[in-house]
């Protein structure tokens, strides 16, 4: 590799520039991803949770709903790994089925909201003009409420329950993705190959699908990793407030809320539910952090 630098500062900049160039090489980026300790940590955590969510029955013989009132609020033991709750249900089993629910909420809410936002961003960025103004002003308005408050307002209108939680978090995710996609589309739109495609008579949709899409999908994907953790947190938060999934469904946030009353006599409940929720969120944050390091070493949050 040829090296030229005017002085030490330029040298540093040059090295960073090289990093960016390398990062554009996808294979190399993938290798860096697996060398990055953060992202490996995140991937391992997520994999464990996915396994637990997929096969809860394999890991615990207990029914997460079935009550055993004579066996209430037992501390962790060999029989009940994480103890039992206020109705004598096995905490570990409820944790496992809760993982399934939380991951589903995160996945569906981010996927639906993200896709809608992605399409809006593509259209706004590519067509510009009125389309852009109308869409983006609408996004501004959605963003002018803090996320949880927006979700609460939507729940207030729709009522509680899993579907409405999904809708609320999905809507919350739309503007984030729309904004990011729009800015990447704007950056790509005037590249030579897009201009060439546009002037050589391809229609707008063709250009969007064949020339813009392949170049803008990766940034929203990284955003999705980071949004995933927020979605899970908001979902759990809504349930914690009693505005989300209704009991007796094993939902971590709802279970945490219930554990509040037993903090003095059975703190293991609060420890268990909070810990599993935190570690999953930590996993996605670590992966997102790692992805950002790998793909965009110069990004500042």
């Amino acid at each position: 590799m040829r090296y030229q630098a005017t002085d030490s500062v330029a040298l540093g900049n040059q090295l960073q520039q090289d990093e960016v160039e390398f990062a554009s090489n996808r294979r190399r980026a993938l290798r860096r991803l697996f060398r990055n300790r953060m992202s490996v940590l995140g991937l391992v955590i997520i994999f464990i949770y996915l396994f637990a969510a997929a096969f809860p029955g394999l890991l615990s013989p207990y029914d997460p709903i079935k009550q055993e009132l004579e066996n209430r609020l037992q501390p962790p033991s060999a029989k009940n790994l994480m103890g039992t709750d206020e109705f004598g249900r096995d905490v570990f089993a409820r944790v496992l089925y809760g993982a399934r629910l939380s991951i589903m909420v995160g996945l569906l809410a981010v996927a639906s909201g993200g896709s809608i936002g992605f399409v809006i961003g593509m259209l706004a960025g590519y067509f510009g003009g009125t389309v852009d103004s109308v869409f983006m002003r609408a996004m501004d308005i959605l963003l002018s409420l803090p996320g949880l408050i927006l979700a609460i307002a939507i729940i207030a209108a729709l009522g509680t329950g899993l579907t409405n939680v999904l809708i609320a978090i999905g809507i919350y995710n739309i503007p984030q993705f729309a904004r990011m996609t729009r800015s990447t589309v704007l950056a790509v739109k005037d590249e030579d190959y897009v201009l060439a495609a546009r002037t050589s008579g391809n229609n707008s949709w063709g250009v969007l699908v064949h020339h813009i899409f392949p170049n803008v999908w990766s940034a929203p994907l990284i955003l999705a990793t980071l949004r995933f953790s927020t979605a899970i947190l908001i979902g759990a938060g809504l349930s914690f407030l009693g505005l989300g999934v209704n009991p007796p469904t094993p939902e971590w946030g709802a279970m945490l809320a219930a554990s509040r009353g037993y903090l003095r006599v059975a703190p293991h409940l609060a420890f268990a539910y909070g810990l599993v929720l935190s570690v999953l969120v930590l996993g996605f944050n670590a992966l997102g952090e790692g992805l950002r390091d790998v793909f965009d070493p110069r990004a500042v949050r």
Partner: protein, 332 residues
């Protein structure tokens, strides 16, 4: 002979990067007498800036590492100084000017406060005294309407004016040595000439010793009394200015001189550029770095690294081949 003010011996600086170790400065030695103006010449990336910045530890460590050598300033080795001792030297006994005046001043502080700051750090003076001296200094370096301008921010100044401010900062504590790191490279030609004239007159006025780093041999000719030519982290030639122009002994120096436009001479005369690319600095050098581009290489050049040897009074060159400069325009 006047006294040594700075003597650098066998300085080695490396940068440890993800792609490997960059050998930026490879055993550089030179000296400077009181009242000298030393030009350091070389293309970008040859290590000339890193050399002087290493002496004052102004390079980021890590990734940089000053691995070896000594830098005797008034007989004391700066490389063994603590950070606290070095701070007394920086801005106090040694003033610095940098390449890009547009980015070298802090955008959120006024010009006046940036000049007075260095005096408040090194000199035992009151705020009022410092402010008075700021106005004198700005006046001295040729900034009109100093009282008004001291309250302005850098973005309200042109590039040339900002470089004058930098000079004022460098001179504020009456340094014994002024290091100018390509101070005119980023400026227009006319402004460039003004700044050079300004430094010349200030040099007389303050009786300063100067190191002037540049890639422009033309500037050195009019300013310096001695020159070192650097290539790929090595000093390849060291001579008095007149000797270097009259009798260059290193193939690289010869190449540089041939690529210099001769104003006032035949307009048709072509510039000679040096073939080949600068070397890969990720390799630990074991042979002359100029070898791949050299037209005069002999067998010994492929066997061992040339050392700096005396070829005349105060004229040193690092080359095995005994090259003499062919007068320009004959075999071109």
């Amino acid at each position: 002979m006047s006294s040594r003010i700075l003597e650098v011996n066998d300085l080695v600086t490396r940068f440890h990067t993800q792609d490997g170790t960059v050998h930026a400065v490879n055993g550089v030695s030179f000296y400077l007498n009181e009242g000298d103006t030393l030009g350091i010449v070389g293309e970008s990336g040859c290590g000339k800036s890193v050399t002087v910045l290493s002496i004052l530890r102004l390079i980021p460590e890590p990734p940089a590492e000053v691995a070896r050598g000594e830098a005797l300033f008034d007989g004391q080795d700066l490389l063994r100084f603590s950070e606290r001792e070095l701070r007394k030297v920086r801005g106090g006994k040694i003033g610095l000017i940098f390449q890009d005046p547009m980015t070298s001043l802090n955008p959120v502080h006024t010009i006046g406060s940036q000049v007075s700051e260095v005096m408040r750090e090194h000199l035992d003076i009151s705020r009022e005294q410092a402010n008075r001296r700021v106005l004198e200094l700005l006046d001295t370096v040729g900034i009109p309407d100093a009282a008004q301008r001291a309250r302005d921010f850098p973005h309200q100044f042109s590039g040339g004016m900002r470089q004058r401010v930098m000079i004022a900062i460098a001179l504020a504590c009456n340094p014994r040595l002024l290091i100018a790191d390509e101070p005119t490279t980023a400026l227009d030609v006319t402004i460039q000439a003004q700044i050079i004239e300004q430094v010349k007159s200030l040099r007389e006025q303050f009786g300063m010793t100067v190191i002037w780093i540049t890639h422009d041999l033309g500037i050195v000719a009019g300013l310096a009394n001695r020159v070192i030519v650097m290539y790929a982290g090595f000093v390849v030639e060291h001579a008095a200015v007149a000797d270097l122009y009259a009798d260059p002994r290193h193939p690289y120096t010869i190449g540089l001189l041939q690529s210099l436009p001769n104003l006032g001479e035949d307009e048709d005369e072509r510039l000679v550029s040096i073939d080949g690319r600068p070397p890969d600095m990720l390799q630990e050098p074991s042979l002359c770095q100029f070898l791949p581009r050299c037209r005069y290489a002999i067998e010994r050049c492929r066997e061992e690294l040339p050392i700096l040897r005396e070829v005349g009074d105060g004229h040193q060159v690092a080359c095995w081949s005994d090259v003499r400069f062919e007068p320009q325009g004959q075999d071109l």
